[in-house]
Symmetry: C2
Subunit: 344 residues, 2 copies
Amino acid sequence: MAAIYPVVLCGGSGTRLWPRSRARAPKPFLPLVAESTLFEATLARCADRARFAAPVVVTGVGHRTHVEAQAAAFPGTRVIVEPMARNTAAAIALAAHRLPAEAVMLVCPSDHHIADVAAFQAAALAAARLAQDDWLVSFGITPTGPETGFGYIRRGAPLDGGFQVERFVEKPDRATAEAFLADGRYSWNGGIFVFKAGTFLDELARHRPKLAAAAGEAVAKGHEDGSAFHPDAGAFAAIEPESVDYAVMENTTRAAVVPVAMGWSDIGNWQALRDARDGDEAGNRTRGAVELVDCRNVLAETDGPRISVIGLEDVAIVVDGDEVLVTTMAGAQKVGKLSGAVNQ
Amino acid sequence: MAAIYPVVLCGGSGTRLWPRSRARAPKPFLPLVAESTLFEATLARCADRARFAAPVVVTGVGHRTHVEAQAAAFPGTRVIVEPMARNTAAAIALAAHRLPAEAVMLVCPSDHHIADVAAFQAAALAAARLAQDDWLVSFGITPTGPETGFGYIRRGAPLDGGFQVERFVEKPDRATAEAFLADGRYSWNGGIFVFKAGTFLDELARHRPKLAAAAGEAVAKGHEDGSAFHPDAGAFAAIEPESVDYAVMENTTRAAVVPVAMGWSDIGNWQALRDARDGDEAGNRTRGAVELVDCRNVLAETDGPRISVIGLEDVAIVVDGDEVLVTTMAGAQKVGKLSGAVNQ
């Protein structure tokens, strides 16, 4: 089978892992789970050149320095520098236009964690086979709980190595999420997609003709700069921002899903990061100078001052330069609304 | 009535308010509850020269600089510098030897908080009247809960303005403390004493003749140094350290108690400090750059970095230079055992 082209979307940094993740040091470029960064791990998962072509990274002006520094260990990486953010449909369109029409793209976020790389690679291969038959494939993450923070995908008729998508479902409420989990036919939509570049562009032109035309024009009028490609800013700016889910996946009749259990996490907040890291026998995760007494399932990390903790459970404590965050795991979803996170 | 001589014992710093209280910045000299330090507030409570003579401060070599700096606002303060710590019986004996035999001493720790100064002063006057009749008087703090961290005093027959002491009781267990509270005749022993210098020295000589003799020799062989007095180190070093409770109060037949409710706290840990401070409507106490979200009864203070907290209750968070402490109020009693507190 022909090589799969990894397309890594390296966009906004978010604020939910503040104060470790900051405007100047965004989430994808931090060694949050392991010693390598989430972005480096994303590239490493697709580094086997027998199966994967060199990656294409779509990123913004602000992230380019980080991308180029961390991609240096992955020769042949090509970078597309968006002049401004226009959401995932446009980002993927740029990459698709820069690849052969027959190229099978594996579109991945740059800031997710995947514990089981072999399962990821097996799913990529299965999805690529479907993509060659002109399916637009979503990875369907096997749910591990009734999460209300993700969209869901309901599988339909079986295909060879996957299923047709019966429907995409918006983020559910708790009761609905529990019903999905019990049902067994629902997966999380993890934002990982596999399709041929030409198939994607055809579907985009069918469902979002203006977006498709503008992306095409931005590439046609763009210019090279070493290993980086710069789409035309004027044409790109005209694009209405829309996610690939809304613009294409929910509209196409060729949507497929490949279910996969691969220890996936979007590391969406401090609780998710705590859970993605290995803990000690009391479930604690520490980095830097930390002393814990009578603590359970505590995440404590510091880039300098010592942290001493007594008697806490399910709490995250993060010291980063001039900021100290202390939050319950249940409160972690509110981190992005703190003054410090908002006014960076 | 003759003036009362305040004798302020300004000894060890303790580790239970680490990391704010440190070897280099001990508890009495910090503005923990209000803008003035505990030591300054102790002197200010006895600053009315119509009722109180200028104070005598008994302190150690390590604290002398702090004492002299903060006592500068209280003219006439005399300092006795102990060459080494020998507990409270010896410290009080030094002060007693430096005062007239008829002088009524009001012996106070330097690191307690008293919210109701008028109640304190009224109790001091009542105790001084008893002292003039050769009673050795303890302040009996009216209990506000079944505390197991204090000694208790059981009152006996009534006196004019107080009671004879029936007995002193060691720190009780919880059930005993609850029985004491229900009984109504028990007070906390807050370490505040009133007696004539001569009466105290007579009783000390009766019950601890060696200690009394060594203290007398240390003063006789001591020397002046400006406003400071230095007992002889050799004589003082020979003293067996003992508390005034063990050496004198529990042995004398002339022990009396003056019950008083005065908003007293020994500020013995972060929970006690939290309780001594005024809180906002959610019971939170903050100092410095702090943002609290969904928090109740949290103490958060910082000397620099911002603290952001979500979802916590009854927790203390203290940032001091290179140390960050996070403890439940229930765990606050273990602060002194943390590596940072032990290895200062």
